[in-house]
Symmetry: C2
Subunit: 205 residues, 2 copies
Amino acid sequence: MGFSDNQDDKQQRIIFSALNEFAEYGYDRASTNRIVKNAGVGKGMLYYYFNNKWELFLYLVKESLDVIEEEYLNKVDLSETDFFERMSKIAEFKMKVYLEHSQIFNFMSQVFIMEESKLPDELRRRIVKLREESYAKLYSNIDFSSFKDDIDVDKAFQLIQWSIDGYQNNLIHRHEGTDFSNLDFESLKEEFLDYIEVLRKAFYK
Amino acid sequence: MGFSDNQDDKQQRIIFSALNEFAEYGYDRASTNRIVKNAGVGKGMLYYYFNNKWELFLYLVKESLDVIEEEYLNKVDLSETDFFERMSKIAEFKMKVYLEHSQIFNFMSQVFIMEESKLPDELRRRIVKLREESYAKLYSNIDFSSFKDDIDVDKAFQLIQWSIDGYQNNLIHRHEGTDFSNLDFESLKEEFLDYIEVLRKAFYK
DNA sequence: ATTCTATTGACCAGTGTGGTCGAATAGATT
DNA sequence: AATCTATTCGACCACACTGGTCAATAGAAT
């Protein structure tokens, strides 16, 4: 059973609460008591659905990887060879997934930081593969010829990447605490494309 | 008495340890037991030098602000009107201060994140002033005329800022755990200037 | 009537918390 | 030598919270 079965199901409430708890505190400092309190269920329910804290955590990693692979990685197409077009599409996807599953994003960034060594082999392998594929989706099959001739393309790539990351972090920071559901997605997209346009004018011939 | 009096003094060891502890865990989750353990002193010493956890924390904020104001803010000169020159100088300063006082930087970024509302008025005011002045040092008295005419200068500023932040975070991340004392500062500076050169070629006429 | 599933929260032993305090030590002063 | 004072320690305190258990329950299905 996946994340999105029955949203009012108590198991789902525990899962949602646990994602946020682990995201904020990391595994060790996360509290099962807070998880059930925020989920609004009795302590027993957690240990009814999951054997213990660690298995709950592993379940969350597994399901999160499923979601990211399905809804993000497999949807980026590599046919677009223009760098900025590719970047725009990826950023748009990332933002959409973030709006729908921000808990998963925050949770997984914690997982990426934590000692992966403790994770079972299968999950470790999936994470490595995810890293590699994300990177490949960013850069493979890109047409470099439109870049200015007199600049270091690798460094330019890096700089552009940092810019976009900076913009996205800024966006998240600006809207934190806001209800995502009534967010003007289109105007945000337009703002983002304006920034991309500046980059294009700067780095292209 | 400031931070840099006698480095082997037990009070200094407590201060150093506490800066790291608060930086990593934030105020609430920081542990006085861990602080004294990492400082290699008995529990009593902490409460011999400081009345309680909160006063220790306030002392650290106050002294950190002193250091940042003295060694960073007051040393940036505003006579340089070229944007990239100014950026280079600031980044170099920031990096130098970071190498010498990385604990203070990490500690203060925690302080910036936490609820400032709990801090006494005087410190709150100093922090606000620090924010404003840092921002002013970045942008005031800059000559805009060299930027390309067909791009949005404000957005370009933002993008460049995010790029540089990205580079610096990347630098810190790459060298985390390394001993700063035997770090080739000059070659890092050169690498950084290469990136600045790319930006200059991209955004200037 | 009986079995099965879902649900609760009091309870457990253990760990860690900020903070106290009496005792020990070392060094200087008398 | 004796006294005094500035340090230094860690055992100890009451308390909060930890991950996890389990007897009791209620409702549905058999």
